[in-house]
Structures are given as structure tokens and as C-alpha cells.
Amino acid sequence: MAAGPVEVGSFNFMDQLPALQVALPMFAATLAAVVRKGNIAWLIALMTSLSMPIIAVLLLHQTFEQGVISYEMGGWEPPIGIEYRVDTANAYVLVIISIIAAIVMPYAKRVVEADIPAEHQSYYYTMYLMCLCGLLGITITGDAFNAFVFLEISSLSTYAMIAMGRDRRALMAAYQYLIMGTVGATLYVIGVGLLYAMTGTLNFNDLSGRIADLGPQRPVLAALAFITVGLSLKIALFPLHKWLPNSYAYAPSMATVFLAATATKVAIYLLVRVYFTIYGPADIVASHDVDTLVLILSLAAMFVASFVACFQLNVERMLAFSSVAQIGYITLGISFASQTGLTGGLVHLVNHAFMKGALFMATGALMLRAGSVKLDDLAGIARKMPITMAAFVLAGLSLIGVPGTVGFVSKWYLASASFEAGQGWLAFAIMLSSLIAVIYIGRVVEVVYFREPSPAVERITKEVPVSMLLPMWLMVVACFYFGINADLTANTAASAADVFLSAIGNASTGGE
């Protein structure tokens, strides 16, 4: 452990939080694989997931109290060793991921029992825990190559989780994602390699200063291009989103909920880290119009993916396309590179996690009872499952961005940023694309409420159990609570935006 005079018995738990955040799920994953029993594996996963937010919130609190936390993994000082570097920005993302994990796990039990054969359940939870470990690792690390390692840990376990889906189409979806995801990770690591060749370091903070000294040399720009495309694949930024709809639609319900709420968010975080912390001081992103590119792709995502969502026959696929569109909002906020815009993008990370989490939990419940999430098979189901459908509608309103919901808060920031930047027309574009959500959510509402129940729906006798309804409604309540009282989310996102923006055009802070 860290060098220095350590008094006997004064091992400080609080100092080890960064390591525990990642090590705990990794250890739990091996444990889950060993026990072989589905129920016990679930219990392990549940306990781990419940402990994650505690650690993350403590970390966030520490960053507010004492600023950046630097943790030397294995006692090796950076830049030689791997540094875990927690500031308000990544602590914020850690909190999002771990809270979602904690809400998803109680929900998971019933859907996993339905989706996964008993003998595979413990492996499934193992994969989930590895995925969680990977996502948290990407977020917490301060080292570009270590981020790649965690990226692969989370991706590989994700492929496995998707492949365990209900039918054979899941295999194809997982395969598709495997190819795309591997290409993305490879491009990212090539970019990191170029940076290492140019600077001789992998530490984010070191990179930051040295790139500012190097200036816009060609390998530095090439690295930016490789990393942008590589991470865009993981983000599913339009038009590199092809893997996402099938993966979400055919993965086991619980995997869909978890991945939709967390996985792409982490890749977005990493991209923001690269753009602002690494490339920010040299001011390369804006001067080479990368921000304009991101803006255009974001707009394309917001409109094309929303439009495509209107024509999906499968509700989960529809929501998946909606996710691609919503990712567009987040990246749009990033492209502004202003306090308001970045806050809007970052607050939408958590807001979108809540609403998509609630929506996919609802479709998971429909899947459990109706055995299908094809729109035609869900005719009149609101009469049989009123609580689930009410949750769906309310979360849908949040997706549309009705005032009083989290979606509105995000839109408010993004549109305000548009006017601040003198780009008022963007505000109209944001509103117009969010209105497309009225169409695809309205379509579901018409079918499930107004149509006569189909025979299959008629056979449904009861709602899903409380263990599923409670997490679902917790997400819905969050959608409204943080829509009416957004101080917590918005202020944290604003602090996170400050962290990123403080690096821009400010070369002297690099490499302390």
C-alpha cells in the first residue's frame, strides 16, 4: 500500500475506496462463478450491487470535500504505475452506474429466472458482475491503457450476456456487436498507442500537458481520429449504431435494462475525458472542427434514429432506436463545449439512465407476462397490467421531455446553451426531434390502451411481482423527482462540467 508512516491499526477504509469500487465486483464475479447456484449467485450480485452506490457516493462526497483523489494502484507511483484518479466528473458517472446497478438487481431475479436456464444463471451473474467491474473501471481509471483493458472486460462480458438471450437471434446480435465492438476497441487502442509513441505516457493527466507542448502534430491528430471513431462505435453514435438495436432487443431483459442505462454512458464519459482532459489544453478539438462533426452527427442521430423508431414493430427495438437518438442529445451537449451545454449533456447521462431504465423495465415486465414485446401482441395489455403500463407512459412522458420530468431539465439546458451560443435554431431542432418521441410513445399508448385485448393478452391473469414493480416505479419516481427538484443532479453535472472545462485552453495545468 501507499508508502509513508502508517500507524498500526490505522488502516483507513476511506482511503481504499477507489480500489474497492472495482475490486469488489471483480472478486464477487469469481465467487458467483464458483458457487454454481443461481439463487446464491444472485444474492452475491445483489449484495455487491447494493454496496457500489455507497462507495461511489462516498467518493463523490470526498471529491467535493477535498478535490481530486489520486490512488496509486499497487503502491506504484504514477506515471509508472496505474493511477486511479477520481474527480467530481467521474465520481458523478460512478454514482450513476452504481445506483442503476443497485436498482436493477432486485428486479433481475424474476426476469433472469424466466430468460436463463437454471444451470447458466450463475454464469450470467458472473458476466454481469464483470461487466459492472469493467464499466466502473473505465470510469475510475486515470490511465488510457487501463481504460482499454476495462473496456474489453465490460465488452466481452456484454457479448456473453447478450448471447444468453431468449432465442437464436440473440446469438446473431451478440456476434454483430462482437465484431463492431472489437473494431471499436482496436481503433481506440491504436489511438492510445500513437499517443504513447508521441508522449511516452499513458496517464491522462500527463498526456494532457505533453500534448499541449507537442501541438497539433499529425500523429496526435491521427490518434484523436482513431479514438473518436473507436469510442463512437462503443457509444453507438450515429451512424455507428448498427449493433445497438438488435443487441437491446434480443438480449435477456435484465441485460437490456442494465446496458441501456449504463454501457453507452461510460463510453461517452471516456470520450469527454479524451476531448477535454487530454486534448483540451492544446485546444485541438475545436480548432479542427471535431466539435462541428459531433454536432452534425448528433443532429442526425436525433432525427434519423427517432424517425426510424416510429416504424419499429418491436417495442424494445423502438426504445433502442430512441436510445440512439437520446445519445445524440448527450453528444450535442458535449459539442457546445460551454458550461451550460456540457452540463446539459452530462445531466442527460443520468436523466436518460432513469427514463430508459424505467422503460426497459416495463418492457421486461411485458415480456415476462405476454411472452413478446411485438406491438401487435400487446394490444389491450394495459387492462391486464395497468401498473406496468402506467410506469411506461410516465417514463415515456419523460422521454418526450414534458415539463416536470428529467427530460425537460436536459432539454432546458441544451436549448439554453443553443441560445447562448447564438445558435437559436438548434433549440428548435431539439424540440422538433423530441416531438417525434410523441409519435412513437403515442403509438404504443394507442395499441395498449385502445385496442381490444388479443387472446394471448386475455390469458394474462396478473401483474408482475412487487420485486419488479418496485424498482420500475423507483426509476419512474426518479424521473419526476429530479424533474421537479433538479438541484442535486444539475449541480453535480455542472461541477463535473467545470472539471472538464477547466482543462480547456489552459495548458499550464497539465502534468502537475
Partner: protein, 491 residues
């Protein structure tokens, strides 16, 4: 009497809590209706409490509750909102009585949902009436749109589905695509969203920007049904008649014109608009809507559709009056909001009464119906006279103010519009009255079993008699609304 500090928050909360209580009593219809009526009475009582404080010189407030830094939910009382709240809460009581008769008389399904959504709609109305800033207003404006959607689509058939699409599409579309950017733009220009006397935009924007903002706001307030975004209102007529009566003749559409007046007076400020001419176009847009909607109304055979187009036309009266931009015309606009509310709800009550008793929906079927349903058709006649503006009915008041305001500043376009549309009003209302009392009954019916009908159920007749009497009483004793209107206009 509730305390000064809490009264406004309580008032707004009453219909919201009522909605849950109604839902909880869903299995026992009599109890459920009792809860609806109790909630309506409590609300009216509470609104009058607020009025007492307000006239006593105390201005109750609630909030602010911070949503984001710089974005608050806050409530306050001002004359126009006070008036709107009194009208809506008062008519909710009568409408609830009417609803009981109508929903039971027609054996409507899903009555619990109906009453719950109704209460939430009134919650939206109260929030709109007492909103202290544009954000709060917008929040409740959207609550009202969404809560009325299940009411419009109540029948859940193909017509209801199509009507619902147009309804929610236009209302959400205009408010989100036009009004919300305008609100955010206003926030970035003015640095505040609070409604303030004299407006918040003076000196903050060029006349061109102000003109664009007025266009965004006036068409963004889709509920005011300015042409060409009016067609959600006829589409909403697929709803059960109590919904058309209270929501689409009073609450929703009045929320629209209320917003128009409020935004012109408290966001832009009359002086600023007079100086810059940013709202000059509005006079012509409103004038056009008044005449065009009346012409369309003439051609409707469906009674509710004709009433709907009449509403579109009458709403633009209010906008026209506000756009004249003088204190007297603003007072006229406010009075016309009250007068139109009580008269148009009477007309819709009558239409629903005819549907319940005789299952007739078309004007051409109404020959001689006045002899079978004298109460209903007398009330209808009073409502119609009030719409035309004949004394001694409420409609006369608003028109008188509007005309005198227009003449004072020699705004002959407005004078012409008001005179011409009065003629058109006469042309599309009087024939119905004449036909009902003097016309011959149809010899043969498609379905024979409704021939020997009499009046509608008692609650319906009680309700429409009360509102018809109200239309006359408002002419005779206009003091309450007159005072509020003068306060608004600063007379």
C-alpha cells in the same frame, strides 16, 4: 378560513388530492361522485378565500420551489388569474352535477378515469391561473394538455383515436416547438421569467426579435386556437359533452386566451408593444380568425362542431381585444373571457342534453325539439343571445368595451370585425333557436325508439338552467368581474 401563507398552495393542491381520492373510491360510484362534488365545492370555497385576501390588499403567494438554479415553481395572485380561477372552479361544480347526469344517462364506460382526469385537468387550470412565472405556467399548461387527452379519447374508438392524435399533436407540438423555445429565448434575453407589471423585455431586445417572439408565443399558445392551428378544437369534440363543455369551451381554451393576455401584458408589456409595433400583426390574425371561423361555423350541421367553430371565433375576440393594446380593450378582453365561459358552457350543456334525451347530434334533426325540451332550448336561446351580444346577457358587456376601445383609438378594422362577426353570430345561432321552437318535428326517425323523449335527466336540466341564469345575472351584477378586469387594465 385558512392562513394567508398556505391558502394558495392548498387551493392548487385540492383538485390534485381530490383526483387520488376519486380514484380510491372508484368502485363505489355514489361515493366517487360525492368526492368529486366535495372536491369541487372545497375548491370553490378555497378560491373565494384567496379572493377575499386579494381584495383585502394581501396577495397570497406560494413557493418559490427551485427546480434548477434560475428556474422556479412559484405562484402568486393577479386580477386576471383570480378571475380565471373563479370562473373555472365555479363552473366545475355545475359541470360535475351535469357530468353525473350525462355519464349515467348515457351508460358511459370508464367513469372513474373520467372523473380522475377531470380533477387533474382542473389542477392544471389552477396552476395556470396562479402561475407567477412563465415556467410554472408552462408546466401546468402541459399538465392540462396531457390530462385532457384521456378525456378526449374517452370513447376509445377509431374517431376518438384520430381526434386524440390531432388534439395532443397540435397542443404538444405548438407548445413545445414554438412556445418553449420562446420561453427559453426570453429567459436568455431578460434573465428572468417572472410575470411583472410592465413586462420583462423592455430594452432587452430589438423590435425584430420582439416580433419573432410574439409570433412564437401567440402561435405557441395553441390552446388559444388562432387560425391556422385551430383545428385541434373541432377534433376534440369527439369527447363526451361534459368535457367539451367545461374543458373545450371554458378551461382549456380560456387557458389559451388567458395566456395570450397575460403574456402580452406581463411579459412584453403594453407600452413596449405599442412603441415597437411587435404585436401589430396579431390584430389582423385575430380579426381573420374571428370572421373565418364564423363562416366555417355557418356550414356545420353537427351541433357540437358548430359550437366549436363559434368558440374558435370567440377566442379570437379576446385576442383581438388584447391586441388593440389599450387599458379599456384589455378590460374588455378579460370580461369577454368570463362572458363567453358562462354562455358557451350553457350551449354545450344544451347540446349534451339533446344527445342524452333524444340522441340527436345534427342541427337539421332539431325541428320542434324546443317543445319537447323547453328548459334545454330556452337555456340554449339565452346562451345564443349572449354569444351574439344582446342585452340583458353577459356577452353584451365584453363587446361593449371592445367596441368603445376600438372606436376611441379609431381602429376601424377592429370595429368592422366586431360588427360583421355579430351579424355572422346571429346567422348561425338564431336559425337553431327558430327551428327548435317553430320548426316541424321530423316525421320518421332512423331509430324509432327515441321519439317520445322529454327533457334530459334532472341533474342535466339543473346544470344548464343554472348557467343560463348565470349568463343573465352576470349582465345584471358584473361587479366582481368588472373590478378584477379594471384592476388588470389599471383603470
Amino acid at each position: 378560513m385558512l392562513g394567508f401563507e398556505t391558502i394558495l398552495a392548498v387551493t392548487i393542491a385540492i383538485p390534485f388530492i381530490g383526483a387520488f381520492a376519486i380514484a380510491a373510491c372508484g368502485r363505489i360510484p355514489n361515493l366517487r361522485e360525492a368526492v368529486t362534488l366535495t372536491t369541487a365545492l372545497l375548491l370553490f370555497f378555497s378560491v373565494f378565500n384567496v379572493y377575499d385576501y386579494f381584495q383585502g390588499g394581501l396577495s397570497p403567494t406560494a413557493g418559490p420551489f427551485e427546480v434548477l438554479p434560475g428556474l422556479d415553481i412559484a405562484f402568486a395572485v393577479e386580477p386576471l388569474g383570480m378571475m380565471f380561477a373563479i370562473i373555472a372552479s365555479g363552473l366545475w361544480i355545475i359541470n360535475s352535477i351535469y357530468s353525473i347526469g350525462y355519464m349515467r344517462g348515457n351508460n358511459e364506460p370508464r367513469q372513474t378515469t373520467f372523473y380522475v382526469c377531470f380533477a387533474i385537468s382542473i389542477f392544471g387550470v389552477m396552476g395556470i391561473a396562479f402561475a407567477a412565472n412563465l415556467f410554472t405556467f408552462f408546466l401546468f399548461y402541459e399538465i392540462l394538455s396531457l390530462a385532457t387527452y384521456p378525456l378526449v379519447t374517452h370513447k376509445q374508438n377509431q374517431d376518438a383515436k384520430i381526434g386524440g392524435r390531432i388534439y395532443i399533436g397540435i397542443l404538444l407540438g405548438t407548445s413545445m416547438f414554438l412556445m418553449l423555445p420562446a420561453i427559453i429565448w426570453t429567459a436568455s434575453l431578460a434573465g428572468t421569467l417572472d410575470f411583472a407589471e410592465g413586462g420583462i423585455l423592455a430594452g432587452k431586445a430589438s423590435p425584430e426579435v420582439l416580433t419573432v417572439l410574439t409570433v412564437l408565443f401567440m402561435f405557441g399558445v395553441g390552446k388559444a386556437a388562432l387560425m391556422p392551428i385551430h383545428f385541434w378544437l373541432p377534433a376534440a369534440m369527439v369527447a363526451p359533452t361534459p368535457v367539451s363543455a367545461l374543458l373545450h369551451a371554458v378551461a382549456v381554451v380560456k387557458a389559451g386566451v388567458f395566456a395570450v393576455v397575460k403574456i402580452l401584458v406581463y411579459v412584453f408589456g403594453i407600452d413596449l408593444l405599442n412603441e415597437t409595433g411587435a404585436a401589430d400583426w396579431l390584430l389582423y390574425a385575430a380579426g381573420f380568425t374571428v370572421i373565418a371561423a364564423s363562416l366555417v361555423a355557418l356550414r356545420q350541421d353537427n351541433l357540437k362542431k358548430r359550437l366549436a367553430y363559434s368558440t374558435v371565433s370567440q377566442l379570437s375576440y379576446v385576442i383581438l381585444a388584447a391586441a388593440i393594446l389599450t387599458p379599456i380593450s384589455i378590460a374588455g378582453a378579460a370580461l369577454h373571457i368570463a362572458a363567453h365561459a358562462i354562455s358557451k358552457i350553457t350551449l354545450f350543456f344544451a347540446a349534451g342534453s339533446i344527445y342524452t334525451a333524444a340522441h340527436k347530434t345534427e342541427i337539421s334533426q332539431l325541428g320542434g325539439i324546443g317543445r319537447r325540451m323547453p328548459w334545454t332550448m330556452t337555456a340554449f336561446a339565452i346562451g345564443a343571445f349572449s354569444m351574439i351580444g344582446v342585452p340583458p346577457t353577459a356577452g353584451f358587456l365584453g363587446k361593449w368595451f371592445m367596441l368603445s376601445a376600438a372606436m376611441t383609438i379609431e381602429q376601424w378594422f377592429a370595429v368592422g370585425v366586431i360588427v360583421l362577426s355579430t351579424l355572422l353570430n346571429t346567422a348561425y345561432f338564431l336559425p337553431i333557436v327558430y327551428k327548435a321552437f317553430m320548426g316541424k318535428e321530423e316525421e320518421h326517425h332512423d331509430d324509432g325508439h327515441h321519439e317520445d323523449h322529454g327533457e334530459a335527466p334532472l341533474p342535466i336540466v339543473m346544470a344548464l338552467t343554472a348557467t343560463a341564469a348565470g349568463a343573465v345575472l352576470l349582465f345584471l351584477f358584473p361587479n366582481l368581474f368588472f373590478d378584477l378586469a379594471s384592476q388588470l387594465a389599471g383603470l
